[in-house]
Amino acid sequence: MKTLIIGSSPCAVNSAKELLESGNEILISLNKNEDSSAIDEFKAAGIDPAFILTDTNILSCRGCAGDFTILMASGGKTVSKKISGVIIAEEYEKKPNFAAYGLKPAPGVLPLSFLTGTGIYGINASKKIPHAGKIAFLTGLGYESNPVIAEEVMLASLKFQTDLNLQTYILTGNLKVAGNGLEKLYRETKTAGTVYFKFTDTSPRILQDNEGKVTIELVDEITRLNFRITPALTVVDEIISPSAYMKELAAVFGLHTGADGFLQSGNLHRTGIYTNRKGIFVAGPSRSILNVAGNITDSANAAILTSRIPDDNIKQEAKAEIKSGSCIRCLTCYRCCPYRAIDLDIRPSVMPDACEGCGICFAECPRGAISLNFPDNRNVADAIRRVSDIGKTSPLVIAFCCGRSAGRAKELAICMGYRLPQNLKVIEVPCSGFVSMEYVLSAFQNNADGVLVLTCHAGNCHSEDGNIFARRRVEQLKETFSQMNFEKERLEIKTLASNMGYEFAQITNMFENTLKVLGSGNLKILKVQK
């Protein structure tokens, strides 16, 4: 049981400490950009530098939680390590916002981390900090900032006001006080004399002369009076973004990234420090912009989750299996598996411990070479066949429901007492990505008047893109239906969340009404080309 920790952020250091103290084995990997101060951070936390590999890049990661083989380039050599779990806690990058405010760095124009990084009274900082004049902070103008930067700005301004007795101004859009203690800090800065200018329908004019001196002209939106400030020091806030190495790591580990480039997609199923891969966690600055407490929270999350690998309480899910005889090595499965559960050797095979049983590969494999084995022998094909045995009084609706969302929404609808279509037959599937075209056609062949595929909302599929695969198949089938003069309205795909009982009833009832208008339908075709 050994955990690999990547990075030297406070979150990485604390994760290492927590794991060691609780008797777990660790290995720390720092890439070439990290200097000796990174090692000092670990030492200060009581961690033996013997655990640290410096000048190390991760090259590849094979295997699954509890049994990863990680290849790295370390100090010119290639080394291979057996690892049970991975914590990525690389530091993010901060870039001063000079350009956004039309400024150039100058003696009187400094980035925020110059004050916070070296310490506002650090030896370096104190030389550059003026001892008279006004201080202006520019933050969150023309873009939305965040509470971590807001806290740094307010703390710095408070120091200037109280300890150095300098007049400070904070120029901002929305002041982000959504963090612990920040509203209180905001009041403290105001009491100490900081003046805030908040801009909504106007913006300040920021001018800089050839010597770098700054002049700011603005309208105070509360009084509508004009002001002109010539600060001795202008402090510019910073944009936080993922580092280049983080992007490399995303590629090496096959992690989905978010719209902001951090190593977690916005998918709710990754809430906390989870990624799309079991056993690989992304904590602190590699997933989000968090304050000190948030980073500590993340390191505790990382410690508990990696020390518990393999997670023996995970319920037994369905597992995919590739029948070697039929596989033509097209690698469709490798490409579509959201959990990186396909191992590539001479031929692809499924790693059972990494497979989450979504069935996307089953539905996508062009050769039908993959089966999905349920622990309880549940068989969707049988379930479809059984459905047809009932006498018809109203349209027969077969609804393929994702077990995580629509399946739960159905239960909620029943529990809340909503009326559901009389002849609604629900077939629960692990993920809508499992609903192959064959299943849909077989539902029609078994006398369904209409078929519904009910998936999670875009961006909330546990298997990341299962709902997108399902949608693509449905759209393709609808297209084929219209070419065959079969009403394409008999097939629909809709999205639901687990808490949408009302909408479940609404969607199914509306669909039933559509079918009533269309009358009884009959589709007898055997194969549709993929």
């Binding site: 609780s22 982000k176 959504a178 203690g181 929270t297 508990i304």
Partner: protein
């Protein structure tokens, strides 16, 4: 750590999460919830997706709930109140099961003991009756929590007065938050994004609805938020002002009065529904319970990590979730996981 008992007080997102995490470490957990249902506030929320998931986190409550029911390491007591607890090396407590719980015909008591106690008692919504907005006086003045439940049961917003969809809605933010008169010196963190998302849902289902926001600073950050906020600026009227009183007009509309900085004049505008984004405040019994357990609440009234309150598990009492201060659902979850880790470490030091 086989048979150690941990008592979790509160079955919201935070209580459910810590209980589940501890159960995975083989710790036996007892979870008491005063209400007859589990899931706390979040289980009452509506999904705010419009085709795409809006990342509100509400559906996490369902998932967490499914983790704890049928878990052999977790004993769940709903409709139950902790009525006595004392510490003598271990905690000894007494629980009263309410008669209205469907399995119980009359009040029954139950005694047990534990090595550690986790306060996961959550927050309470601020009661806006104290504000001049006519809550509980005018039917069409509702809270964000009322709107969550309304959208969850009806899919659209409906005016309580006549059951018809409103045509002009005003959202008032920070009702009871960031309020020095009430000594509520905190931002509740989630109400801005939550209200914006609900407004988008209403507008997408009834595009003719007009929406106005009154706010101090719009909170929220990150890429998803930028998009959400950008769309809000296009679709809604965003007014940076906190309204004074609300009056009712003769034709049953609600008149809002606010000071407009641009024209430097007091402006009156009418709406047919007003949503108050009420604050998350400490539970009314939080202080009492904290004192019984021997911990000192912060000056905000929450029992979170603030200077000099000496919680951090000293003496075996821990806090999870919004009992410690305003948090989102996602933050409540990570906080609760951390608490589980702290508790596990504590149990180890006690040789459990």
């Amino acid at each position: 750590m086989d048979s150690s008992n941990v008592l979790v007080i509160g079955g919201g997102i935070a209580g459910l999460t810590t209980a589940h995490e501890l159960s995975k470490l083989g710790v036996k957990v007892e979870l008491v919830e005063k209400e007859p249902f589990l899931g706390g506030h979040a289980i009452q929320f509506t999904c705010k997706a419009i085709e795409s998931c809006a990342k509100c986190g509400a559906c996490m409550a369902e998932e967490k709930l499914n983790n704890v029911i049928h878990n052999e390491n977790i004993k769940i007591l709903t409709g139950a109140n902790l009525n006595r607890i004392s510490k003598n090396d271990r905690f000894h407590y007494n629980i009263q099961l309410n008669p209205d719980d469907k399995n119980q015909s009359k009040c029954t008591g139950y005694s047990s003991s534990a090595d550690a106690v986790i306060m996961a008692t959550g927050f309470e919504p601020f009661d806006p009756v104290k504000k001049p907005y006519g809550y509980r006086v005018f039917k069409n003045v509702i809270t964000n929590l009322d709107l969550e439940r309304m959208l969850k049961t009806n899919g659209i917003a409906l005016k309580p007065s006549d059951g018809m969809p409103p045509s002009k809605i005003a959202f008032i933010q920070c009702v009871g938050s960031r309020d020095s008169k009430l000594n509520h010196l905190w931002c509740s963190k989630i109400c801005c994004a939550s209200a914006l998302r609900m407004a988008h849902v209403i507008k997408s289902r009834k595009p003719e609805t007009s929406v106005t926001f009154f706010y101090i600073d719009i909170q929220g950050s990150g890429k998803d938020f930028e998009a959400l906020y950008q769309k809000a600026k296009e679709d809604f009227q965003m007014i940076r002002a906190i309204p004074g009183d609300i009056y009712k007009t003769e034709d049953d509309w609600l008149k809002i009065n606010y000071f407009d900085n641009l024209s430097k004049a007091s402006i009156e505008e009418v709406y047919d529904m007003v949503v108050l984004s009420v604050a998350m405040i400490p539970g009314s019994k939080t202080k009492e319970l904290a004192e019984i357990l021997g911990i000192i609440p912060c000056d905000t009234g929450f029992v979170g990590s603030c200077k000099n309150n000496g919680i951090a598990g000293s003496g075996g009492v821990f806090v999870a979730g919004t009992a410690g201060g305003p948090l989102s659902i996602a933050e409540s979850i990570t906080h609760a996981v951390k608490t589980a880790w702290d508790v596990a470490k504590y149990l180890k030091t006690r040789g459990r």
